[in-house]
Amino acid sequence: MKRLKQLGPPLSLLLALFAGWEAIVRLWSIPDYLLPAPTAIFRAIPDHLELLWLNTGITFTAIALGFLISLVSGLALGIVIFYSPTLERALYPLLIASRNVPLFTIAPLLVVWLGFGLLPKVAVAVIIAFFPIVVNTYDGLRSVDADLVNLLRTLLASRWQILRKLRLPAALPFIFSGVKLGLVYSVLGAVFAEMVVGGQVWTASGVATGGLGYWIRNATNFGHLDLAFALIFWLAGLSLALFGLVVSLERYLLRWQRVERT
């Protein structure tokens, strides 16, 4: 109930923005190929439902694979560099520096190397989503109170027990910040790669594939701005839904942070 109430103000603002947009388009009679009205955009969604569904599956596969690979390898590498000072000294500065490098710009090169299809999309997603997960996992593991580590040592806990019972749960808030960033980057990477990769395959029913990113570019190039916007809104919805899933998991696992003093 409280959370629903929090949704009120931003939703009202969003509605007001759409209303303003609609009014401007109608008052100045702006043509559809320059700026379609929100109503036209929302009408375009049912008109292209088949295309949306088919390409959502394609894009979602790239996002999900990119995200899961980033998650598993990011957690693993974060733990490894935490326990290996040599690797930490060599890798950590590079990981931090890579934050300031627009890595997704190598997407066209990945297409050259990996061809068209799923692979370059997943690769771009992983390349950018992986770093925040590694860095946050490492920072989280390091953040643990030394006195707590000592407590577990006096209880004769093994390294593995200290990791599992203390370091990982203590790092969880950090890890989730990294994972949420990683998810956003996976979406970004996969869709950007689709825009670069292009290419389309005609299915039996005559609907082209290539992913949502490809179709956003394609619809824009051909002046179907209503479809382009419809795809963008659709993608935004998909992205928010995925983010919501991760946040729900976070709220469940970190429920101890929200308990109130009795």
Partner: protein, 257 residues
């Protein structure tokens, strides 16, 4: 368990030299004895406990348990500190069983054991609460239960009630004495509070300023429960206070020269 520490030395690097924290410390505790350790701040009380708990290796010294020389300091004693060190993501019950869980005792069995003890320490109904829902006194009781459940023959307590208000502290003293008498353990209890030492202990050991050694030992023969207004209690307190002040003074002179 009876234990002896013989000729314990420990220093830490400090710039180009070494800071001597413990120098030739001897201490012996009889079976089931409750010894309070007091001394000026920075005299190495916590270092001593960290060594005995196996967290810090000593430079030299011998540990004897029941007359047997022990090569490793690890795992013989239960250690409880001023900070409750509860894991905030574990509910009370699961915090209490942390040590048992690490020993590999099945969770269900450990929980049954913990439930009974939590109830006796006035924590019934709070088993499923998280630490940040509890008061400081309750959190410290959970930490005490976690320590007791280890069933170690020796407990090291480092100012466990130092951050607790006076009223709650006297309750906690009762809980502690009760648990000590039931489990027949040997306790080394560090405190900077002379009154606390006199309320609890069979003997009070006074440490010198750094580098730390045992300067004096007092037998406290008063029957329990002890009253702080008892004239004998007051006399002992004054004697101890004087001794400690002397130690502080010497430390100042030592540092000034």
């Amino acid at each position: 368990m009876r234990f002896q520490i013989e000729d314990l030395h420990k220093s830490f690097p400090q710039g180009a030299t070494r800071l001597k924290v413990l120098e030739g410390l001897y201490l012996e505790l009889a079976y089931g004895e409750f010894v309070a350790l007091i001394g000026p701040s920075g005299c190495g009380k916590t270092t001593l406990l960290n060594i005995l708990a196996g967290l810090v290796p000593p430079d030299a010294g011998t540990l004897w348990l029941d007359g047997q020389r022990v090569p490793s300091y690890q795992g013989h004693m239960a250690y409880m500190q001023q900070k409750d060190l509860l894991l905030p993501w574990r509910m009370v019950l699961d915090n209490a069983i942390l040590g048992l869980e690490i020993q590999g005792i099945p969770k269900r069995q450990a929980r049954t054991q913990a439930r009974a003890l939590l109830g006796r320490f006035g924590l019934a109904g709070f088993e499923r609460a998280y630490p940040n829902q509890l008061s400081g006194g309750m959190r410290q009781r959970v930490a005490l239960v976690r320590t007791l459940l280890l069933e170690k023959p020796i407990w090291l307590l480092d100012e466990p009630f130092g951050a607790i208000d006076a009223m709650t502290r006297s309750h906690l003293h009762r809980y502690l004495l009760q648990a000590w008498q039931e489990q027949e353990t040997t306790i080394l209890f560090v405190t900077h509070d002379i009154e606390e030492a006199l309320v609890l202990a069979d003997r009070v050991a006074v440490m010198t300023a750094r580098p730390g050694r045992i300067k004096a030992l007092f037998d406290i023969k008063l029957p329990r429960p002890r009253r702080v207004t008892d004239p004998q209690f007051v006399a002992l307190k004054e004697e101890l206070l004087e001794l400690l002040q002397e130690e502080r003074l010497e430390k100042k002179i030592y540092e000034a020269t």
